[in-house]
Amino acid sequence: MERPLNVKRLVKPYLFLLPSVALIFLFNYYPLFKTFFLGFMLVDVVGNPVEFIGLDNFIAVMQDERFWTAMLNTFKFALITIPATLLISLLLSLLAEKKRRGSSIYQIMFALPMAVSMSSAALIFQLLMNPTLGMFNYLTGLQVNWFGDEKYALTGIAIVAVWMGIGFSFLFLLAALRNVPGDLLESAELDGGGYIQKLWHIKLPLISPTLFFLFTTDLIGSLMVFGPVAVITKGGPMGSTETLIYRMFIVAFENSKYGYGSAIAAVIFVIVMIFTFITFAFEKKGVHYH
């Protein structure tokens, strides 16, 4: 009687894991391995691997000017969007932190961008930021051709992405701020601590796990940005908004070079992995878990 139960005990957790592991293998790991495999192959227009060509695709990626431009664009995009999203949503959540009468109204308002689908938001911004007919230039008095000018297009895309990211980050930060224990803040007040001191020495350290989580997801998200680029600028003008994923998409699905596209995908995977490891190394120093 003892034995079969033990076997069951051994098997049970794996049975629970089985559905999700199976799904993850099917939809995450299988495509990943296949992508790496295709990266070493010459693939024809119909998708058949026709010849093993070793590292040729990867060498071609490294020599491709447009790939490096796409990489630079992606880094610029990440550099604008991550700090902007975190800062703006932190400010908004500090504003909404105290529960007052009617505060649920602006809480909802701040979080609402989350409910707008990416493509609809992108299309709306395309109209708002139209150089001649749009509200954006009209209200700010700027004369900028946001998505049509090489110099501003990436910033334009970043503005859209920040707006779309705020809702999600705001929600997390608001919850984190409200979880900061009141007695800590109270004792700080008794010791004569002002608002800035409380924010700097108590609130920020205590919400740092949330900030870290948001930073990591934002980082991965912005390194893999695709949606607004595909909807608004299609990588243009003159490749100034072409990001890594968009480049991969164009190479594989518009130019029918699946092997080459797979090699780009593999390189992107490695880049994103490296950055994720770097942030996790940073976690040990900067994040305070209570």
């Binding site: 139960l5 069951k8 005990r9 098997v11 049970k12 049975l15 629970f16 089985l18 559905p19 799904l23 010459l42 693939v43 024809d44 227009v45 119909v46 998708g47 026709v50 010849e51 139209n130 001649t132 007919l133 051709n145 998505f147 049509g148 000018d149 090489e150 600028t233 243009g236 003008p237 003159m238 490749g239 164009i250 699905f253 518009e254 130019n255 029918s256 070079k257 699946y258 092997g259 080459y260």
Partner: protein
Amino acid sequence: MKKLMLIVSALLLTVSLAACGNPSSSNQPAANTSTGTSPSGSGSTSAEPVNLTFWHAMSGTNEEVIKQVAATYNETIGKEKGITITPVFQGSYGDLMKKVRAAVQAKDFKNLPDLVQSPASDVAVMKSIPSIVWAQDLIGKDSSFQIDDLEPNAVQTFSFQNKIVGIPFANSTILLYYNKSMFADAGLDASKPPATIAELGEMAARLTDKPSKQWGFILTPELYQMSSWIGMQGGFLGNNESGRADTMTAVEFDKTGAMKNFLTEWKKAVDLGGVQTGADANVKEEFAAGKLAMFVDSTAALRGVLNSVGDKFEVGTAFYPKVNASDKGGVAVGGSALYVMDRGDQAKIDAAWDYIKYSSAPETQLIWHQGTGYFPVNRKTYDLPAMNEHLEKNPLFKTAIDQLHSSSPQVQEPMSAVNNEISTFLKEEILSFVLNKKDIDTAVSDMAAKANKALEEYNRANK
């Protein structure tokens, strides 16, 4: 006991997940059998209903006409023969082709349509897809179809080694649109639109008023425009007759001097100050808002342009400006053809072919032309009294037809599978010359070298 329950419930969970997965995967075959996957081959009885899916890329006004044509077919001939066609909008030509490619790559023939509309620039891709049934083979079995009735330029567009792949359906050429009121205001003769790039530059400069953000002409040339501007000068854009005699392996515009001629003229025009180039602009909106005097676009845009302009001003249409006044070649045929896909059911192939014949018939082409601005691909359309009436009432539509009939069938977009890439290279290098970043010879040799490399890479993988 409790543990046993847990195990059972965990198992149930996996089973239920599998069950969830099942219906969606068995969905397709089930749908197929209901639409009649009878193995009886071509001789299947007409009593068996056939449902066809038709992927197209027509939006706005043009989509309405697509739906109207399909509905008419379903109610008349389709009803007789038991064929029902369902048009499905799949986004722009680019989006549609991405979906076709993705489905072909995944070998997902069940989800492919029976009929696809695909643009002139992608013939080379379509002909390399194994499940495409070449129209030439279908014509060979059907003596009722007269290919000689179709416009020879359009037939040539979709032919490789004189065999036609898809049947021309919605065809167009590039056309110059201009605002007659702005011409009059600038003291120009509205009945004399520019005939050459040089004249275009001069007139654009007079029509431009930068403080009020008004431009004479906006264009960043890509392969679409260059196919005509290179072709009209006489030679081909690429070798092997631009890929129609045999696979294209290199470009020729650098050796014939045609690109250099164009660049010289184009830069002169841009330097006069009335041509905006390099920035992305929505020319049709700017034109309708009276902020742009001239632009070039497909003839298929005509109905839409007229609708959005309304009575704000008078629209003029003219032949595409020439590079040199002596150019005789005319313009390339753009637009699209319909292709039949083999999904393992002969009855569907036959039905799809029947719909294609209907689509290219004179009467259908008349409705299509009136509703959109695409020229009629069937020359018999001009024998219809209603067609002559229509052209008399709407002289703007006639420009495109006259231009087509004075163009050589040899002037075509190249038949290469890397047209997207070539287009990007042309666009960037033309711009870098016009903006003084490169001298003319470097720009020409750079764009040729990049295009040749792309062709070589593609041909290496696709023999």
